[in-house]
């Protein structure tokens, strides 16, 4: 009976939070999932909109970007949130969560004419989290500091190590690794802002929903099963990270402390992200209407049996 | 019946670099009877190759007409074999394939080509070199392959453009003897271009002395010296003295003109 099962191509990126998607084929019931590993969320999104894959694990930001460009993407489930961490380089003497100290330092450096160098991967969830948190604390990431874009998170450790940046907002497991290697120190988890800790989202296209509603539902079911399993059993997750990345299990375990498996899709925070992205000129239209409309809760509702008001709506 | 007839040939080249016309051949008329051996004698750049190319069909005269065996020439063809100033062998083919290239074009099978080539390879004395590549041959050997290739076409007319110019004295002497022997055996018409007075006098039944640019026929000399010709003999040296005087006069005239216009001939430049 496996032969006549519908097949779904599911793309996912390489990060500690994304990697467990590799487990979905085993959890899938009534659908055959082919999980494809991409280097960046951006490649996953491109593959989805060019119809190379059917379902994609991307970030909320990708979802907004795609809508801005008029692409047909529909969000069908959450996955894992969190994973962002702001760290400071060795020379920066700041206590954790000491925003006042950070502000003073920024003002001081600005006055000296060598603004604080703050790095992130532009357009990542971490970028948005950091900018939101800065704004909340009265820091303008565009004016008060010198923003440095390091697209590949694997370069973040080296940049800190070499003192090329002072503050960085990076993603797990690189954050844990930076801490473990002593290249940087924990400053804060930047979730106290409008976007919350939203990170990953499962999206598809409306034509896929129309043609293979059963397969989509089965896929959502496997994601939900995955999320439940991740909540219950971190060991399997650590195992996956270790297998795919070769990272130390200790680092992986550390990384998971900053991970919140969550299949809900948080509407308000999504709209906040859309607004923030527009302010940052990452997108050029107001997409809040589309962003709300294309959050499709019906599969989650069917799979979990919960009403959408319990699922982030 | 005339084998080759040139009637009032003129040829004008467009000199693209200096943007002017260049009169290379000026009103040349010549008739070469069947089985004759005509030597065209002239200095570098006087238009010898151009004249030969027009008989071969590689160039069209600007004015006048060329007929071979009564038919006007309108392109290269296998009825006129040409031996070039450089041997122009296909460097990627062994000697025998070069000789039999014509048969390859006609689609003959390898064994047949090989057999047909052998006759001509023997004729020019290259037994043992059938499978050598052009890069492994000396200049004289290459020219012999070129001659064998032209002979295999079994043409009525063979055109030869300074084929021995690059050879040393001894090889040249040998080749000249061989060529005369072949010509006597094959009974074909040969037009042979050279700038060596000795060579023209050793080979030809007729010598046409050309003027420097533009090329005109200065004098057409019939030779009825006995063969093999003795290049240190009396009669030979009388002809030689006569021709050298013609050339010297030419040279003096040319130098007077060169003083007025000190631009080197484009073609000579390319050969430098």
């Amino acid at each position: 009976q496996a032969a006549d099962m519908e097949e779904v191509k599911l793309g996912f990126a390489k990060c500690a939070h994304c990697l467990p998607m590799a487990l979905t084929p085993d959890l899938a019931k009534g659908v055959k999932i082919e999980a494809i590993n991409f280097n960046s969320g951006n490649d996953v999104l491109t593959a989805l909109v060019s119809k190379s894959i059917d379902v994609a694990q991307v970030t909320y930001l990708h979802y907004i970007t795609a809508l801005d460009k008029g692409f047909d993407v529909v969000a069908i489930s959450g996955q894992v949130n969190g994973g962002s961490e702001i760290l400071t380089a060795k020379g920066i003497e700041l206590k954790p969560d000491d925003w006042a100290g950070l502000k003073a330092l920024i003002a001081d450096r600005k006055a000296k004419g060598e603004p604080l160098r703050v790095a992130a991967s532009r357009g990542n969830a971490q970028d948005i989290h950091m900018r939101g948190a800065f704004l909340k604390n009265g820091i303008d990431a565009n004016k008060d500091v010198q923003f440095i874009n390091i697209p590949n998170p694997s370069d973040h450790a080296a940049a800190l190590q070499r003192g090329e940046v002072d503050v960085i907002c990076t993603v797990e497991p690189f954050a844990s690794q930076i801490r473990a290697s002593g290249a940087g120190r924990h400053f804060t988890l930047p979730y106290d802002q409008a976007a919350g800790n939203l990170t990953n989202l499962i999206v598809t296209r409306s034509d896929v929903i129309k043609e293979h509603p059963k397969a989509v539902e089965a896929t959502v079911a496997s994601v939900v099963a995955l999320v439940d399993r991740l909540k219950a059993d971190k060991a399997a997750w650590i195992e996956t990270i270790n297998k795919y990345t070769g990272m130390d299990k200790a680092v992986a375990a550390e990384a998971l402390k900053n991970a919140a498996p969550d299949y809900a899709m948080h509407k308000d925070s999504t709209l906040a992200i859309a607004a923030m992205m527009r302010d940052l000129k990452y997108i050029s239209h107001d997409v809040s209407a589309a962003a709300e409309k294309n959050l499709d809760y019906k599969f989650l509702e069917a799979v979990t049996g919960k009403p959408k008001s319990d699922l982030g709506f | 019946m005339a084998s080759i007839e040139l009637k009032n040939i003129t040829k004008i080249f467009r000199d693209a670099k200096r943007k002017r016309d260049l009169l290379a051949i000026d009103d040349v008329s010549l008739t070469v009877e069947r089985n004759q051996f005509l030597c065209l004698l002239g200095s570098s750049g006087c238009g010898k190759s151009t004249l030969l190319n027009m008989i071969a069909g590689f160039e069209k005269p600007t004015g006048g007409s060329v007929t071979v065996g009564g038919k006007p020439v309108d392109g290269p063809g296998a009825d006129r074999g040409m031996v070039f100033q450089q041997a122009n062998l296909m460097p990627w083919l062994p000697v025998w394939e070069n000789v039999a290239f014509h048969l390859r074009l006609k689609g003959w099978r390898k064994a047949d080509r090989r057999a047909a080539a052998q006759e001509y390879i023997d004729m020019v004395g290259l037994q043992g070199f059938e499978n050598h590549y052009p890069a492994e041959l000396s200049g004289g050997m290459s020219q012999r392959v070129g001659i064998a290739r032209a002979l295999l076409l079994n043409p009525q007319v063979i055109l030869m453009d300074e084929p021995f110019a690059a050879l040393d004295a001894q090889t040249k002497m040998d080749m000249q003897e061989e060529l005369v022997a072949i010509w006597q055996k094959q009974r074909c018409t040969i037009v042979f271009v050279t700038h060596s007075v000795d060579e023209a006098l050793v080979l030809g039944t007729q010598v046409a002395v050309l003027t420097s640019r533009p090329g005109r026929v200065r004098e057409l000399i019939d030779l009825d010296l006995p063969r093999p010709r003795d290049i240190t003999g009396q009669q030979f040296n009388d002809h030689k003295r006569h021709i050298l005087n013609l050339i010297r006069e030419e040279g003096m005239q040319q130098r007077r003109e060169a003083k007025a216009d000190p631009v080197p001939a484009g073609r000579q430049g390319a050969a430098a």
Partner: protein, 268 residues
């Protein structure tokens, strides 16, 4: 005795570099993870190839499969590039009207680096092998094309004359004279092309393929496995060297008539 020394002599400097590298990276000047010593690299490489102790983790024992996938991509893209580059090059070099119509477009596209086609390659060809093959094609196509055109245009006019003296038709000229005459230049293009082909496979494997030496390179980079990064670099270099050697072999077979006639044929 001297012959033995000669071959040793060539190895002295590379060996010295390896030893110095081992010492530097064991000394801890850089974090060992970022510049693993040669022995560590060799160990990881060995496991990648033979799979003895899982040092290379997911990649353990998969080297042959990786090398094969990369090689297949190179072969496909390069094959298409070689055939189309040679055919189009001969047409452009020989017929004026083809040159006039096709060349401006070629000249427009040529200076755009093949790498920058990656975004378009993905949307046009999706994921998996096709975009990689397309990029390899792009990289190898232009060197082959340009060198073929050059070869045809510089083919000795006198040989063409000699052949038409023997009654060759245009098609025969192309097949029996122009093509063999252009062959040395075509091979020069093929050799530049194979280098470009490997380079672009590595780049293309950055996005969305599941195996290949380049894939392992980027994957290892992403997770800071510098031992595997270096092992991939060495593997790719090795395969690149081997394929170049193959083409050189082919070349010396096809151009055997050139032997000794030029100095170059003895070099590189």
């Amino acid at each position: 005795m001297t012959a033995l020394w000669k071959s040793w002599e060539r190895a002295v400097v590379p060996l010295f570099i390896l030893v110095a590298w081992e010492i530097v990276s064991r000394s801890g000047l850089l974090p060992a993870a970022l510049l693993p010593p040669p022995t560590v690299v060799l160990h990881a490489w060995g496991d990648w190839v033979f799979g003895f102790d899982e040092t290379a983790q997911g990649n353990s024992g998969r080297w042959l499969a990786d090398a094969l996938s990369s090689a297949v991509r190179v072969a496909a893209g390069y094959g298409i590039a070689a055939v189309s580059g040679i055919l189009l090059g001969i047409a452009i070099g020989w017929w004026r009207w083809v040159e006039r119509t096709v060349e401006p477009t070629i000249q427009m596209l040529r200076p755009v680096p093949p790498v920058s086609w990656i975004p378009l390659a993905i949307i046009w060809f999706g994921i998996a092998n096709k975009p990689a093959i397309f990029l390899v094609f792009l990289g190898a196509f232009f060197p082959v094309l340009m060198n073929t055109i050059h070869g045809v245009k510089t083919a000795d006019r006198n040989l063409i004359r000699a052949a038409s003296m023997m009654g060759a038709t245009e098609q025969q000229l192309l097949r029996h004279v122009v093509f063999p005459a252009a062959l040395p230049s075509i091979f020069a293009g093929l050799r530049i092309g194979i280098g470009a082909a490997w380079m672009l496979t590595v780049t293309a494997e950055m996005v969305a393929v599941k195996s290949g030496l380049g894939y392992v390179l980027w994957d290892s980079y992403y997770f800071l496995r510098y031992d595997l990064v270096l092992a991939s670099m060495a593997s790719i270099g090795l395969l690149g060297y081997a394929t170049d050697g193959l083409i050189k072999l082919l070349m010396s077979a096809a151009l055997h008539w050139q032997h000794g006639s030029t100095l170059q044929s003895r070099e590189g």
